[in-house]
Symmetry: C2
Subunit: 326 residues, 2 copies
Protein backbone atom coordinates (compact mmCIF):
# COMPACT_ATOMS: atom_id res chain seq x y z
CA UNK A 1 0.00 0.00 0.00
CA UNK A 2 1.11 3.52 -0.89
CA UNK A 3 -0.25 5.54 2.02
CA UNK A 4 -0.13 9.34 1.93
CA UNK A 5 -0.26 11.61 4.97
CA UNK A 6 -1.63 15.14 4.48
CA UNK A 7 -0.86 17.51 7.34
CA UNK A 8 -3.03 20.50 8.27
CA UNK A 9 -5.62 19.46 5.72
CA UNK A 10 -8.08 22.14 6.89
CA UNK A 11 -10.72 22.93 4.30
CA UNK A 12 -8.88 21.37 1.34
CA UNK A 13 -11.39 18.62 0.72
CA UNK A 14 -10.60 18.51 -3.00
CA UNK A 15 -6.93 17.71 -2.36
CA UNK A 16 -7.93 14.73 -0.21
CA UNK A 17 -10.46 13.59 -2.82
CA UNK A 18 -7.90 13.87 -5.65
CA UNK A 19 -5.29 11.83 -3.76
CA UNK A 20 -7.86 9.12 -3.05
CA UNK A 21 -8.62 9.01 -6.76
CA UNK A 22 -4.92 8.79 -7.68
CA UNK A 23 -4.66 5.84 -5.31
CA UNK A 24 -7.53 3.98 -6.97
CA UNK A 25 -6.97 1.81 -10.04
CA UNK A 26 -9.26 1.97 -13.07
CA UNK A 27 -10.94 -1.20 -11.79
CA UNK A 28 -11.76 0.58 -8.53
CA UNK A 29 -9.11 -1.09 -6.40
CA UNK A 30 -7.39 1.07 -3.78
CA UNK A 31 -3.59 0.94 -3.92
CA UNK A 32 -3.14 3.28 -0.98
CA UNK A 33 -4.93 5.16 1.75
CA UNK A 34 -5.07 8.88 2.49
CA UNK A 35 -4.58 9.87 6.12
CA UNK A 36 -5.23 13.47 7.20
CA UNK A 37 -4.30 15.46 10.28
CA UNK A 38 -5.50 18.74 11.67
CA UNK A 39 -5.38 20.44 15.05
CA UNK A 40 -9.12 20.98 14.76
CA UNK A 41 -11.84 18.35 14.56
CA UNK A 42 -14.02 20.78 12.62
CA UNK A 43 -11.70 20.84 9.59
CA UNK A 44 -14.04 19.41 6.94
CA UNK A 45 -11.34 17.83 4.76
CA UNK A 46 -10.33 15.36 7.43
CA UNK A 47 -13.70 13.62 7.11
CA UNK A 48 -12.96 12.92 3.44
CA UNK A 49 -9.82 11.01 4.35
CA UNK A 50 -9.62 7.29 5.04
CA UNK A 51 -8.48 8.12 8.56
CA UNK A 52 -8.14 11.29 10.63
CA UNK A 53 -5.78 12.17 13.46
CA UNK A 54 -6.40 15.26 15.56
CA UNK A 55 -2.93 16.54 16.45
CA UNK A 56 -1.45 19.33 18.63
CA UNK A 57 -0.61 22.74 17.20
CA UNK A 58 2.45 22.64 14.94
CA UNK A 59 4.46 24.78 17.37
CA UNK A 60 3.68 22.58 20.38
CA UNK A 61 6.39 20.49 22.05
CA UNK A 62 6.49 16.96 20.73
CA UNK A 63 4.47 17.74 17.61
CA UNK A 64 6.92 16.16 15.17
CA UNK A 65 7.10 12.98 17.30
CA UNK A 66 3.31 12.68 17.02
CA UNK A 67 3.69 12.88 13.24
CA UNK A 68 6.51 10.29 13.25
CA UNK A 69 4.25 7.96 15.25
CA UNK A 70 1.41 8.32 12.75
CA UNK A 71 3.86 7.58 9.91
CA UNK A 72 4.93 4.34 11.59
CA UNK A 73 1.48 3.23 12.63
CA UNK A 74 -0.11 3.93 9.24
CA UNK A 75 2.86 2.78 7.14
CA UNK A 76 3.06 6.11 5.37
CA UNK A 77 5.00 6.36 2.07
CA UNK A 78 4.79 10.12 1.54
CA UNK A 79 3.97 13.20 3.56
CA UNK A 80 3.00 16.74 2.62
CA UNK A 81 1.56 19.80 4.33
CA UNK A 82 -0.96 22.32 3.06
CA UNK A 83 0.17 25.25 5.25
CA UNK A 84 3.25 27.42 4.85
CA UNK A 85 4.97 27.30 8.24
CA UNK A 86 4.90 23.50 8.23
CA UNK A 87 6.85 23.23 4.97
CA UNK A 88 10.12 24.19 6.67
CA UNK A 89 9.42 21.78 9.51
CA UNK A 90 9.06 18.86 7.10
CA UNK A 91 12.20 19.93 5.24
CA UNK A 92 14.24 20.05 8.47
CA UNK A 93 13.22 16.50 9.33
CA UNK A 94 13.57 15.09 5.81
CA UNK A 95 16.25 12.56 6.84
CA UNK A 96 14.27 11.26 9.80
CA UNK A 97 11.23 10.80 7.60
CA UNK A 98 13.40 9.05 5.05
CA UNK A 99 14.63 6.66 7.76
CA UNK A 100 10.97 5.77 8.36
CA UNK A 101 10.51 5.12 4.64
CA UNK A 102 8.57 8.35 4.20
CA UNK A 103 9.25 10.71 1.31
CA UNK A 104 8.68 14.43 1.98
CA UNK A 105 6.84 15.96 -0.98
CA UNK A 106 8.40 19.40 -0.82
CA UNK A 107 11.38 21.67 -1.34
CA UNK A 108 14.48 22.03 0.81
CA UNK A 109 14.62 24.05 4.01
CA UNK A 110 16.30 27.18 2.65
CA UNK A 111 13.81 27.46 -0.20
CA UNK A 112 10.85 26.97 2.14
CA UNK A 113 12.19 29.71 4.41
CA UNK A 114 12.90 32.05 1.50
CA UNK A 115 9.39 31.54 0.17
CA UNK A 116 7.90 32.51 3.53
CA UNK A 117 9.90 35.74 3.77
CA UNK A 118 8.76 38.30 1.18
CA UNK A 119 11.93 40.39 1.56
CA UNK A 120 14.30 37.44 1.13
CA UNK A 121 12.31 36.38 -1.93
CA UNK A 122 12.45 39.93 -3.31
CA UNK A 123 16.23 40.06 -2.86
CA UNK A 124 16.76 36.70 -4.53
CA UNK A 125 14.51 37.61 -7.47
CA UNK A 126 16.12 41.03 -8.10
CA UNK A 127 19.66 39.63 -7.74
CA UNK A 128 18.84 36.99 -10.34
CA UNK A 129 17.35 39.44 -12.80
CA UNK A 130 13.65 38.66 -12.40
CA UNK A 131 11.05 41.42 -12.52
CA UNK A 132 9.19 41.59 -9.21
CA UNK A 133 7.23 44.23 -7.24
CA UNK A 134 9.60 46.70 -5.48
CA UNK A 135 9.79 45.97 -1.76
CA UNK A 136 11.12 47.83 1.28
CA UNK A 137 11.40 47.02 4.96
CA UNK A 138 13.06 50.40 5.51
CA UNK A 139 10.34 52.99 4.95
CA UNK A 140 12.89 55.80 4.65
CA UNK A 141 14.38 54.09 1.58
CA UNK A 142 10.85 53.83 0.22
CA UNK A 143 10.27 57.59 0.75
CA UNK A 144 13.53 58.33 -1.10
CA UNK A 145 12.33 56.25 -4.05
CA UNK A 146 8.96 58.04 -3.98
CA UNK A 147 10.81 61.39 -4.14
CA UNK A 148 12.89 60.08 -7.03
CA UNK A 149 9.74 58.96 -8.88
CA UNK A 150 10.80 55.28 -8.82
CA UNK A 151 7.60 54.16 -7.07
CA UNK A 152 4.17 55.74 -6.65
CA UNK A 153 1.22 55.46 -4.28
CA UNK A 154 -0.88 53.42 -3.69
CA UNK A 155 1.36 50.74 -2.20
CA UNK A 156 0.72 47.72 -0.02
CA UNK A 157 1.85 47.65 3.60
CA UNK A 158 1.95 44.04 4.76
CA UNK A 159 3.79 41.71 7.14
CA UNK A 160 7.13 40.41 5.78
CA UNK A 161 5.96 36.91 6.75
CA UNK A 162 2.25 36.48 6.27
CA UNK A 163 -0.32 34.66 4.24
CA UNK A 164 -3.99 34.56 3.21
CA UNK A 165 -3.97 38.37 2.77
CA UNK A 166 -4.01 38.82 6.55
CA UNK A 167 -3.26 42.41 7.62
CA UNK A 168 -2.62 43.76 4.13
CA UNK A 169 -3.41 47.46 3.68
CA UNK A 170 -3.58 49.39 0.43
CA UNK A 171 -2.09 52.74 1.34
CA UNK A 172 -2.38 56.07 -0.46
CA UNK A 173 -0.06 58.40 1.51
CA UNK A 174 2.97 58.73 3.78
CA UNK A 175 0.85 59.59 6.80
CA UNK A 176 -0.79 56.15 6.69
CA UNK A 177 2.53 54.35 6.09
CA UNK A 178 3.88 56.08 9.22
CA UNK A 179 0.82 55.12 11.25
CA UNK A 180 0.94 51.46 10.22
CA UNK A 181 4.69 51.15 10.86
CA UNK A 182 4.25 52.83 14.27
CA UNK A 183 1.60 50.24 15.17
CA UNK A 184 3.02 47.07 13.64
CA UNK A 185 6.18 44.99 13.64
CA UNK A 186 7.96 43.31 10.76
CA UNK A 187 6.12 45.26 8.09
CA UNK A 188 7.17 46.02 4.54
CA UNK A 189 6.09 48.35 1.77
CA UNK A 190 5.40 46.61 -1.53
CA UNK A 191 4.73 48.13 -4.93
CA UNK A 192 1.11 47.89 -6.03
CA UNK A 193 0.94 46.05 -9.36
CA UNK A 194 -1.91 47.36 -11.45
CA UNK A 195 -2.09 44.44 -13.86
CA UNK A 196 -3.40 40.96 -14.51
CA UNK A 197 -2.86 38.51 -11.67
CA UNK A 198 -1.71 35.08 -12.79
CA UNK A 199 -1.29 31.80 -10.97
CA UNK A 200 0.94 28.91 -12.00
CA UNK A 201 0.60 25.35 -10.66
CA UNK A 202 3.85 23.54 -11.29
CA UNK A 203 5.17 20.05 -10.64
CA UNK A 204 8.88 19.30 -10.46
CA UNK A 205 9.51 15.57 -10.70
CA UNK A 206 11.03 14.04 -7.56
CA UNK A 207 12.83 11.33 -9.54
CA UNK A 208 14.13 13.17 -12.62
CA UNK A 209 14.26 16.56 -10.80
CA UNK A 210 12.92 18.08 -14.02
CA UNK A 211 9.93 20.37 -14.34
CA UNK A 212 7.24 18.16 -15.90
CA UNK A 213 3.94 20.07 -15.63
CA UNK A 214 2.92 23.74 -15.75
CA UNK A 215 -0.65 25.05 -15.65
CA UNK A 216 -1.26 28.80 -15.85
CA UNK A 217 -4.44 30.74 -15.26
CA UNK A 218 -5.54 34.35 -15.14
CA UNK A 219 -7.17 35.22 -11.83
CA UNK A 220 -10.53 36.91 -12.23
CA UNK A 221 -11.79 37.25 -8.66
CA UNK A 222 -10.14 36.90 -5.28
CA UNK A 223 -11.61 36.45 -1.82
CA UNK A 224 -9.64 36.48 1.44
CA UNK A 225 -6.40 35.97 -0.50
CA UNK A 226 -7.67 32.98 -2.46
CA UNK A 227 -8.58 32.72 -6.12
CA UNK A 228 -12.36 32.42 -6.47
CA UNK A 229 -12.58 32.55 -10.27
CA UNK A 230 -9.91 32.03 -12.91
CA UNK A 231 -9.48 31.13 -16.57
CA UNK A 232 -6.83 28.88 -18.12
CA UNK A 233 -4.39 30.33 -20.68
CA UNK A 234 -0.99 29.51 -22.21
CA UNK A 235 2.03 31.60 -23.12
CA UNK A 236 5.33 29.99 -24.15
CA UNK A 237 7.22 33.03 -22.85
CA UNK A 238 5.71 32.53 -19.39
CA UNK A 239 6.43 28.79 -19.46
CA UNK A 240 10.06 29.56 -20.28
CA UNK A 241 10.28 32.07 -17.41
CA UNK A 242 8.87 29.49 -14.97
CA UNK A 243 11.26 26.78 -16.22
CA UNK A 244 14.21 29.13 -15.71
CA UNK A 245 13.00 30.14 -12.23
CA UNK A 246 12.57 26.53 -11.14
CA UNK A 247 15.98 25.58 -12.49
CA UNK A 248 17.76 28.48 -10.76
CA UNK A 249 15.97 28.07 -7.41
CA UNK A 250 15.78 24.28 -7.20
CA UNK A 251 12.17 23.87 -6.03
CA UNK A 252 10.92 20.26 -5.90
CA UNK A 253 7.48 18.68 -6.00
CA UNK A 254 4.37 20.85 -6.11
CA UNK A 255 4.71 24.65 -6.18
CA UNK A 256 2.30 27.52 -6.78
CA UNK A 257 3.61 30.81 -8.22
CA UNK A 258 1.92 34.23 -8.11
CA UNK A 259 2.73 36.43 -11.08
CA UNK A 260 1.59 39.81 -12.43
CA UNK A 261 1.41 40.69 -16.09
CA UNK A 262 1.75 44.38 -16.95
CA UNK A 263 2.24 45.52 -20.52
CA UNK A 264 3.37 42.11 -21.69
CA UNK A 265 5.98 41.78 -18.92
CA UNK A 266 5.77 39.16 -16.18
CA UNK A 267 6.56 40.08 -12.56
CA UNK A 268 7.13 37.15 -10.18
CA UNK A 269 5.46 38.00 -6.89
CA UNK A 270 5.48 34.92 -4.65
CA UNK A 271 6.21 31.21 -4.61
CA UNK A 272 4.30 28.82 -2.32
CA UNK A 273 6.10 25.46 -2.29
CA UNK A 274 2.86 23.47 -1.81
CA UNK A 275 -0.58 22.91 -3.33
CA UNK A 276 -2.32 26.30 -3.49
CA UNK A 277 -6.01 26.92 -2.86
CA UNK A 278 -6.61 27.35 -6.59
CA UNK A 279 -4.99 24.03 -7.64
CA UNK A 280 -8.35 22.35 -8.40
CA UNK A 281 -8.52 24.44 -11.59
CA UNK A 282 -5.35 22.76 -12.89
CA UNK A 283 -6.56 19.31 -11.85
CA UNK A 284 -9.96 19.64 -13.49
CA UNK A 285 -8.23 20.78 -16.69
CA UNK A 286 -6.26 17.55 -16.72
CA UNK A 287 -3.05 18.51 -14.86
CA UNK A 288 -3.28 15.65 -12.37
CA UNK A 289 -0.23 16.21 -10.16
CA UNK A 290 -1.43 13.60 -7.66
CA UNK A 291 -0.83 10.94 -10.31
CA UNK A 292 2.66 12.36 -10.91
CA UNK A 293 3.38 12.08 -7.18
CA UNK A 294 2.19 8.47 -7.06
CA UNK A 295 4.40 7.60 -10.05
CA UNK A 296 7.36 9.17 -8.23
CA UNK A 297 6.58 7.13 -5.12
CA UNK A 298 6.89 3.99 -7.27
CA UNK A 299 10.31 5.29 -8.33
CA UNK A 300 9.18 6.20 -11.84
CA UNK A 301 10.09 9.51 -13.47
CA UNK A 302 7.26 11.31 -15.25
CA UNK A 303 7.45 12.50 -18.85
CA UNK A 304 7.91 16.24 -19.33
CA UNK A 305 4.53 17.47 -20.51
CA UNK A 306 4.29 21.26 -20.22
CA UNK A 307 1.02 23.01 -21.02
CA UNK A 308 -1.07 19.94 -21.81
CA UNK A 309 -4.49 21.51 -21.20
CA UNK A 310 -7.15 23.55 -22.91
CA UNK A 311 -7.25 27.36 -22.85
CA UNK A 312 -10.35 29.40 -21.97
CA UNK A 313 -11.68 27.01 -19.31
CA UNK A 314 -13.19 28.94 -16.39
CA UNK A 315 -13.12 27.77 -12.78
CA UNK A 316 -15.67 29.16 -10.29
CA UNK A 317 -15.67 28.29 -6.60
CA UNK A 318 -18.74 28.01 -4.43
CA UNK A 319 -19.45 26.71 -0.95
CA UNK A 320 -20.16 23.10 -0.21
CA UNK A 321 -20.87 22.17 3.37
CA UNK A 322 -20.19 19.25 5.64
CA UNK A 323 -22.38 18.51 8.67
CA UNK A 324 -21.09 16.65 11.72
CA UNK A 325 -22.37 15.88 15.16
CA UNK A 326 -19.41 15.99 17.54
CA UNK B 1 -46.01 25.25 -12.52
CA UNK B 2 -44.68 27.23 -9.58
CA UNK B 3 -41.64 28.92 -11.06
CA UNK B 4 -39.21 30.82 -8.84
CA UNK B 5 -36.85 33.55 -9.99
CA UNK B 6 -33.66 34.08 -7.98
CA UNK B 7 -31.92 37.39 -8.71
CA UNK B 8 -28.17 37.93 -8.30
CA UNK B 9 -27.67 34.26 -7.54
CA UNK B 10 -23.87 34.60 -7.55
CA UNK B 11 -22.13 31.78 -5.74
CA UNK B 12 -25.19 30.59 -3.82
CA UNK B 13 -25.43 27.21 -5.49
CA UNK B 14 -26.98 25.59 -2.42
CA UNK B 15 -29.93 28.01 -2.47
CA UNK B 16 -30.67 27.08 -6.08
CA UNK B 17 -30.30 23.35 -5.29
CA UNK B 18 -32.63 23.61 -2.27
CA UNK B 19 -35.34 25.41 -4.25
CA UNK B 20 -35.19 22.77 -6.95
CA UNK B 21 -35.65 20.11 -4.28
CA UNK B 22 -38.62 21.97 -2.77
CA UNK B 23 -40.17 22.03 -6.24
CA UNK B 24 -39.81 18.26 -6.70
CA UNK B 25 -42.41 15.84 -5.35
CA UNK B 26 -41.48 12.69 -3.47
CA UNK B 27 -42.09 10.74 -6.67
CA UNK B 28 -39.52 12.92 -8.46
CA UNK B 29 -41.97 15.04 -10.42
CA UNK B 30 -41.07 18.72 -10.81
CA UNK B 31 -43.85 21.11 -9.81
CA UNK B 32 -41.90 24.21 -10.71
CA UNK B 33 -38.68 25.48 -12.25
CA UNK B 34 -35.90 27.62 -10.78
CA UNK B 35 -34.69 30.47 -12.96
CA UNK B 36 -31.57 32.41 -11.95
CA UNK B 37 -30.12 35.73 -13.03
CA UNK B 38 -26.75 37.32 -12.58
CA UNK B 39 -24.85 40.14 -14.28
CA UNK B 40 -21.93 37.74 -14.69
CA UNK B 41 -21.83 34.54 -16.68
CA UNK B 42 -19.16 33.20 -14.33
CA UNK B 43 -21.50 33.07 -11.34
CA UNK B 44 -21.48 29.32 -10.63
CA UNK B 45 -24.97 29.11 -9.11
CA UNK B 46 -26.68 30.08 -12.36
CA UNK B 47 -25.54 26.79 -13.92
CA UNK B 48 -27.44 24.88 -11.22
CA UNK B 49 -30.70 26.56 -12.25
CA UNK B 50 -33.14 25.23 -14.83
CA UNK B 51 -32.51 28.37 -16.84
CA UNK B 52 -30.12 31.31 -16.61
CA UNK B 53 -30.48 34.90 -17.77
CA UNK B 54 -27.46 37.18 -17.84
CA UNK B 55 -28.83 40.63 -16.96
CA UNK B 56 -27.47 44.20 -16.74
CA UNK B 57 -26.15 45.64 -13.50
CA UNK B 58 -28.92 46.36 -10.98
CA UNK B 59 -28.31 50.11 -11.21
CA UNK B 60 -28.48 50.20 -15.03
CA UNK B 61 -31.35 51.92 -16.85
CA UNK B 62 -34.11 49.50 -17.76
CA UNK B 63 -32.93 46.80 -15.34
CA UNK B 64 -36.31 46.29 -13.69
CA UNK B 65 -38.01 46.04 -17.11
CA UNK B 66 -35.63 43.21 -18.00
CA UNK B 67 -36.71 41.42 -14.81
CA UNK B 68 -40.42 42.04 -15.58
CA UNK B 69 -39.89 40.52 -19.03
CA UNK B 70 -38.28 37.40 -17.57
CA UNK B 71 -41.20 37.08 -15.14
CA UNK B 72 -43.69 37.15 -18.01
CA UNK B 73 -41.75 34.88 -20.30
CA UNK B 74 -41.02 32.26 -17.65
CA UNK B 75 -44.41 32.50 -15.90
CA UNK B 76 -42.76 33.28 -12.57
CA UNK B 77 -44.76 32.85 -9.34
CA UNK B 78 -42.26 34.25 -6.86
CA UNK B 79 -39.12 36.36 -6.93
CA UNK B 80 -36.32 36.92 -4.44
CA UNK B 81 -32.85 38.42 -4.44
CA UNK B 82 -29.71 37.28 -2.65
CA UNK B 83 -28.01 40.69 -2.45
CA UNK B 84 -28.84 43.58 -0.14
CA UNK B 85 -29.29 46.59 -2.44
CA UNK B 86 -31.75 44.66 -4.59
CA UNK B 87 -34.13 43.99 -1.69
CA UNK B 88 -35.35 47.60 -1.68
CA UNK B 89 -35.75 47.54 -5.44
CA UNK B 90 -38.04 44.50 -5.28
CA UNK B 91 -40.00 46.09 -2.42
CA UNK B 92 -40.53 49.31 -4.39
CA UNK B 93 -41.96 47.37 -7.32
CA UNK B 94 -44.03 44.93 -5.24
CA UNK B 95 -47.33 46.06 -6.79
CA UNK B 96 -46.08 45.77 -10.37
CA UNK B 97 -44.79 42.28 -9.66
CA UNK B 98 -48.13 41.44 -8.07
CA UNK B 99 -49.91 42.60 -11.24
CA UNK B 100 -47.80 40.06 -13.12
CA UNK B 101 -48.82 37.34 -10.68
CA UNK B 102 -45.42 37.39 -9.00
CA UNK B 103 -45.04 37.39 -5.23
CA UNK B 104 -42.00 39.21 -3.82
CA UNK B 105 -40.43 37.07 -1.08
CA UNK B 106 -39.21 39.90 1.11
CA UNK B 107 -39.92 42.69 3.55
CA UNK B 108 -41.32 46.16 2.84
CA UNK B 109 -39.26 49.04 1.48
CA UNK B 110 -38.70 50.93 4.74
CA UNK B 111 -37.49 47.81 6.50
CA UNK B 112 -35.13 46.92 3.65
CA UNK B 113 -33.69 50.43 3.74
CA UNK B 114 -33.36 50.42 7.52
CA UNK B 115 -31.57 47.06 7.41
CA UNK B 116 -29.04 48.46 4.93
CA UNK B 117 -28.21 51.49 7.06
CA UNK B 118 -26.37 50.52 10.25
CA UNK B 119 -27.11 53.89 11.92
CA UNK B 120 -30.85 53.77 11.20
CA UNK B 121 -30.94 50.22 12.52
CA UNK B 122 -29.02 51.28 15.62
CA UNK B 123 -31.46 54.12 16.29
CA UNK B 124 -34.50 51.88 15.86
CA UNK B 125 -33.05 49.18 18.12
CA UNK B 126 -32.07 51.56 20.93
CA UNK B 127 -35.40 53.44 20.76
CA UNK B 128 -37.22 50.15 21.12
CA UNK B 129 -35.17 48.98 24.06
CA UNK B 130 -32.98 46.35 22.38
CA UNK B 131 -29.37 45.92 23.39
CA UNK B 132 -27.09 46.62 20.40
CA UNK B 133 -23.46 47.70 19.86
CA UNK B 134 -23.04 51.45 20.44
CA UNK B 135 -22.72 53.33 17.15
CA UNK B 136 -21.64 56.83 16.14
CA UNK B 137 -21.44 58.70 12.86
CA UNK B 138 -20.23 61.77 14.75
CA UNK B 139 -16.74 60.92 15.96
CA UNK B 140 -16.74 63.82 18.42
CA UNK B 141 -19.69 62.25 20.24
CA UNK B 142 -17.73 59.01 20.28
CA UNK B 143 -14.68 60.75 21.86
CA UNK B 144 -16.95 62.28 24.54
CA UNK B 145 -18.24 58.79 25.40
CA UNK B 146 -14.67 57.47 25.51
CA UNK B 147 -13.78 60.23 27.97
CA UNK B 148 -16.84 59.36 30.02
CA UNK B 149 -15.84 55.69 30.07
CA UNK B 150 -19.02 54.62 28.22
CA UNK B 151 -17.08 52.92 25.43
CA UNK B 152 -13.51 51.64 25.11
CA UNK B 153 -11.02 50.86 22.37
CA UNK B 154 -10.75 48.79 20.23
CA UNK B 155 -13.73 49.81 18.10
CA UNK B 156 -14.74 49.12 14.52
CA UNK B 157 -14.65 51.87 11.91
CA UNK B 158 -16.84 50.81 8.97
CA UNK B 159 -19.08 52.23 6.25
CA UNK B 160 -22.64 53.05 7.40
CA UNK B 161 -23.89 51.11 4.38
CA UNK B 162 -21.70 48.15 3.60
CA UNK B 163 -21.63 44.40 3.53
CA UNK B 164 -19.38 41.35 3.37
CA UNK B 165 -16.98 43.01 5.87
CA UNK B 166 -15.67 45.30 3.15
CA UNK B 167 -13.55 48.18 4.50
CA UNK B 168 -13.97 47.27 8.19
CA UNK B 169 -11.08 48.31 10.42
CA UNK B 170 -10.49 47.33 14.03
CA UNK B 171 -9.08 50.48 15.58
CA UNK B 172 -7.12 50.89 18.81
CA UNK B 173 -6.71 54.68 19.13
CA UNK B 174 -8.05 58.15 18.30
CA UNK B 175 -5.21 58.87 15.87
CA UNK B 176 -6.39 56.02 13.60
CA UNK B 177 -10.06 57.01 13.89
CA UNK B 178 -9.07 60.50 12.74
CA UNK B 179 -7.06 59.15 9.82
CA UNK B 180 -9.82 56.85 8.61
CA UNK B 181 -12.51 59.55 8.87
CA UNK B 182 -10.23 61.98 7.01
CA UNK B 183 -9.85 59.45 4.18
CA UNK B 184 -13.34 57.98 3.95
CA UNK B 185 -16.94 59.09 3.56
CA UNK B 186 -20.04 57.80 5.34
CA UNK B 187 -18.13 56.05 8.08
CA UNK B 188 -19.24 55.14 11.56
CA UNK B 189 -17.64 54.00 14.79
CA UNK B 190 -19.14 50.85 16.25
CA UNK B 191 -18.53 49.25 19.61
CA UNK B 192 -16.41 46.09 19.44
CA UNK B 193 -18.37 43.22 20.96
CA UNK B 194 -16.03 40.77 22.65
CA UNK B 195 -18.47 37.90 22.84
CA UNK B 196 -20.02 34.92 21.07
CA UNK B 197 -21.31 35.68 17.59
CA UNK B 198 -24.67 34.13 16.82
CA UNK B 199 -26.69 33.84 13.64
CA UNK B 200 -30.44 33.31 13.39
CA UNK B 201 -32.24 32.09 10.26
CA UNK B 202 -35.88 33.02 10.55
CA UNK B 203 -38.96 32.55 8.40
CA UNK B 204 -42.03 34.76 8.78
CA UNK B 205 -45.00 33.20 7.02
CA UNK B 206 -46.29 35.23 4.07
CA UNK B 207 -49.85 33.98 4.55
CA UNK B 208 -50.33 34.03 8.36
CA UNK B 209 -47.71 36.80 8.85
CA UNK B 210 -46.56 34.84 11.90
CA UNK B 211 -43.01 33.79 12.69
CA UNK B 212 -42.98 30.04 12.01
CA UNK B 213 -39.34 28.94 12.05
CA UNK B 214 -36.21 29.99 13.94
CA UNK B 215 -32.81 28.31 13.70
CA UNK B 216 -29.93 29.64 15.81
CA UNK B 217 -26.26 28.82 15.64
CA UNK B 218 -23.05 29.92 17.31
CA UNK B 219 -20.50 31.12 14.78
CA UNK B 220 -17.10 29.50 15.21
CA UNK B 221 -15.09 30.84 12.27
CA UNK B 222 -15.64 33.68 9.84
CA UNK B 223 -14.04 34.41 6.45
CA UNK B 224 -14.62 37.56 4.39
CA UNK B 225 -17.72 38.40 6.46
CA UNK B 226 -19.28 34.97 6.02
CA UNK B 227 -19.74 32.19 8.53
CA UNK B 228 -17.38 29.33 7.69
CA UNK B 229 -18.07 27.10 10.69
CA UNK B 230 -20.96 27.12 13.14
CA UNK B 231 -22.79 24.90 15.65
CA UNK B 232 -26.53 24.70 16.26
CA UNK B 233 -27.93 25.59 19.71
CA UNK B 234 -31.25 26.59 21.30
CA UNK B 235 -32.22 29.11 23.96
CA UNK B 236 -35.85 29.95 24.68
CA UNK B 237 -34.83 33.44 25.86
CA UNK B 238 -33.25 34.12 22.46
CA UNK B 239 -36.25 32.71 20.58
CA UNK B 240 -38.51 35.06 22.58
CA UNK B 241 -36.26 38.04 21.77
CA UNK B 242 -36.37 37.21 18.05
CA UNK B 243 -40.17 36.76 18.11
CA UNK B 244 -40.55 40.18 19.77
CA UNK B 245 -38.16 41.81 17.30
CA UNK B 246 -39.98 40.38 14.30
CA UNK B 247 -43.36 41.44 15.69
CA UNK B 248 -42.24 45.00 16.39
CA UNK B 249 -40.43 45.50 13.09
CA UNK B 250 -42.75 43.65 10.73
CA UNK B 251 -40.19 41.69 8.67
CA UNK B 252 -41.67 39.15 6.24
CA UNK B 253 -40.33 36.04 4.55
CA UNK B 254 -36.72 34.96 5.10
CA UNK B 255 -34.45 37.01 7.36
CA UNK B 256 -31.01 36.48 8.84
CA UNK B 257 -30.10 38.15 12.15
CA UNK B 258 -26.61 38.76 13.57
CA UNK B 259 -26.47 38.72 17.37
CA UNK B 260 -23.75 38.85 20.03
CA UNK B 261 -23.97 37.11 23.37
CA UNK B 262 -21.97 38.67 26.22
CA UNK B 263 -22.45 37.56 29.80
CA UNK B 264 -25.81 35.97 29.09
CA UNK B 265 -27.17 39.10 27.37
CA UNK B 266 -28.07 39.22 23.68
CA UNK B 267 -27.11 42.22 21.53
CA UNK B 268 -28.84 42.51 18.15
CA UNK B 269 -26.27 43.67 15.61
CA UNK B 270 -27.79 43.42 12.13
CA UNK B 271 -30.75 42.10 10.17
CA UNK B 272 -30.43 40.95 6.56
CA UNK B 273 -33.93 40.50 5.09
CA UNK B 274 -32.83 37.66 2.79
CA UNK B 275 -31.18 34.23 2.83
CA UNK B 276 -27.74 34.65 4.40
CA UNK B 277 -24.58 32.86 3.35
CA UNK B 278 -24.82 30.57 6.37
CA UNK B 279 -28.42 29.44 5.75
CA UNK B 280 -27.38 25.94 4.55
CA UNK B 281 -26.66 25.05 8.19
CA UNK B 282 -30.34 25.61 9.07
CA UNK B 283 -31.53 23.70 6.02
CA UNK B 284 -29.31 20.67 6.64
CA UNK B 285 -30.57 20.58 10.23
CA UNK B 286 -34.12 20.29 8.93
CA UNK B 287 -35.28 23.95 8.82
CA UNK B 288 -36.39 23.79 5.18
CA UNK B 289 -37.60 27.34 4.52
CA UNK B 290 -37.86 26.66 0.78
CA UNK B 291 -40.71 24.27 1.52
CA UNK B 292 -42.38 26.96 3.66
CA UNK B 293 -42.13 29.39 0.74
CA UNK B 294 -43.67 26.89 -1.68
CA UNK B 295 -46.55 26.25 0.76
CA UNK B 296 -47.14 30.02 0.93
CA UNK B 297 -47.18 30.23 -2.85
CA UNK B 298 -50.00 27.69 -2.84
CA UNK B 299 -51.83 30.01 -0.43
CA UNK B 300 -51.29 27.74 2.57
CA UNK B 301 -50.14 29.05 5.95
CA UNK B 302 -47.39 27.06 7.66
CA UNK B 303 -47.63 25.75 11.20
CA UNK B 304 -45.58 27.61 13.81
CA UNK B 305 -42.69 25.31 14.57
CA UNK B 306 -39.94 27.18 16.42
CA UNK B 307 -36.69 25.41 17.21
CA UNK B 308 -37.44 22.07 15.58
CA UNK B 309 -33.86 20.91 15.12
CA UNK B 310 -31.05 19.18 16.96
CA UNK B 311 -28.43 21.01 19.02
CA UNK B 312 -24.69 20.44 18.69
CA UNK B 313 -24.66 19.89 14.93
CA UNK B 314 -21.58 21.46 13.32
CA UNK B 315 -21.50 22.99 9.83
CA UNK B 316 -18.16 23.38 8.02
CA UNK B 317 -17.81 25.02 4.63
CA UNK B 318 -15.30 24.05 1.98
CA UNK B 319 -14.79 24.88 -1.67
CA UNK B 320 -16.51 23.06 -4.45
CA UNK B 321 -15.73 24.16 -7.97
CA UNK B 322 -17.58 24.44 -11.24
CA UNK B 323 -15.77 24.33 -14.59
CA UNK B 324 -17.13 26.01 -17.71
CA UNK B 325 -15.91 26.69 -21.19
CA UNK B 326 -17.36 30.06 -22.25
Amino acid sequence: MMNILILSAGTRNKIVQYFKKALTTSSGERIGRVIATDMSNIAPSVYEADKFYQVPQMAADGYIEVIFDICKKEEISAILSLIDPELSLLAVHREEFSDLGVMVIGSDYNLCEMSLDKMKMYEWLTEHGYKTPKSYTDKELFYIDVEAGLINYPVFVKPVRGSASVAINKVYDKETVELLFAHGDNLMVQEYMDGQEIGADVYIDLVSEEIVSIFTKKKIAMRAGETDKSVSFKDEKLFALIEKLVEETGYRGQIDIDIFEIGGEYYVSEVNPRFGGGYPHAYECGCDHMKLIVENLYGNANQKNIGDYEEGIFMMKYNEIMMKKL
